[in-house]
Amino acid sequence: MYSHPQRLSTKGTKELREQAGSWLRELRENCGLSQRQLAAKVGAEFYTFISQLETGRGRIPPDRYLVWATALKVEPQEFVRTLMSFYDPVTYKILFGSTSEKPKSGLRRTGGVRLTIK
């Protein structure tokens, strides 16, 4: 039977989601936003969703990527590309190559993508 590699039951995928959460938290903190303020900017009805995402539970819905990128002051393409490295590493690797590089201070390098925080 086919086993979907994106399923979070695998430890590696859980870790990736947690990394995504940490990354989102770092972006938010760099913007000087509280969780409640970010929730207001991205249109989340309850600000507790932000905390949930930042701990690696769940994922940002694709139809919210643009508003999130804007709220966190990140280029939308870079934002989505980095999220893809966490949410869909298989597709990401095919499209963009290795995901093994680590972020650097100031500039974040996630999976070979250089992210500039504005």
């Binding site: 979907h4 979070l8 039951s9 009805e45 507790t48 969703f49 905390s51 701990t55 769940g58 819905p61």
Partner: protein, 169 residues
């Protein structure tokens, strides 16, 4: 069991933290000196208030109370009994409000999100769907949520429950 919900504490000999209920009763016994039989699971019970205050003082957070956790655990067990394979995860926001999610254990998709906002407002909803139930009594909020089309739909979204065709809420 709901992970991350209660602070770890050394158990006395022979006491096993095998489920939330056991931990709840054990903690109440430690904190109040009451026997298991004396402990009443009542939000207005002095023992519960004492435990909640002790927890706040000790751990400096407004984490879920034991009563709230027992209600959430019961909801989780109900889902599991009806065929779902549910995981619960919880956390606290930067303002100290607790949240808890039920995830499909097979896919880890978040099925529903519960939170307490401030001291007495509860929320049960599907993340980012902007549909949910709020109220001042957690048990009522859960009942309303799982009776609603959205809540029922999310519960039915459990992959194992769907595959077995068992889930009825």
């Amino acid at each position: 069991m709901i992970r991350g919900a209660l602070p770890a504490k050394k158990l006395a000999h022979g006491e096993k933290s095998s489920c939330l209920w056991c931990r709840l009763v054990t903690k109440l016994r430690w904190e109040t000196g009451h026997s298991s039989e004396e402990i009443k699971l009542n939000p207005n019970c002095g023992a519960f208030k004492m435990i909640r205050n002790c927890t706040l003082a000790k751990y400096g957070s407004t984490d879920w109370s034991l009563l709230e956790l027992s209600i959430l655990e019961q909801a989780k067990k109900t889902l599991e009994y009806q065929g779902g394979n549910v995981e619960a995860e919880c956390g606290i926001t930067d303002e100290g409000d607790p949240w808890l999610v039920f995830c499909d254990a097979d896919t880890s998709n978040v099925l529903c999100h519960f939170a307490r906002l401030g001291s007495d407002k509860y929320v049960a909803c599907v993340p980012f769907d902007n549909v949910g139930t709020t109220g001042s009594a957690l048990a009522d909020v859960l009942d309303d949520f799982f009776s609603s089309p959205v809540g029922r739909g999310r519960a039915l979204g459990l992959s194992s429950a769907v595959s077995h065709g068992k889930l009825r809420i």
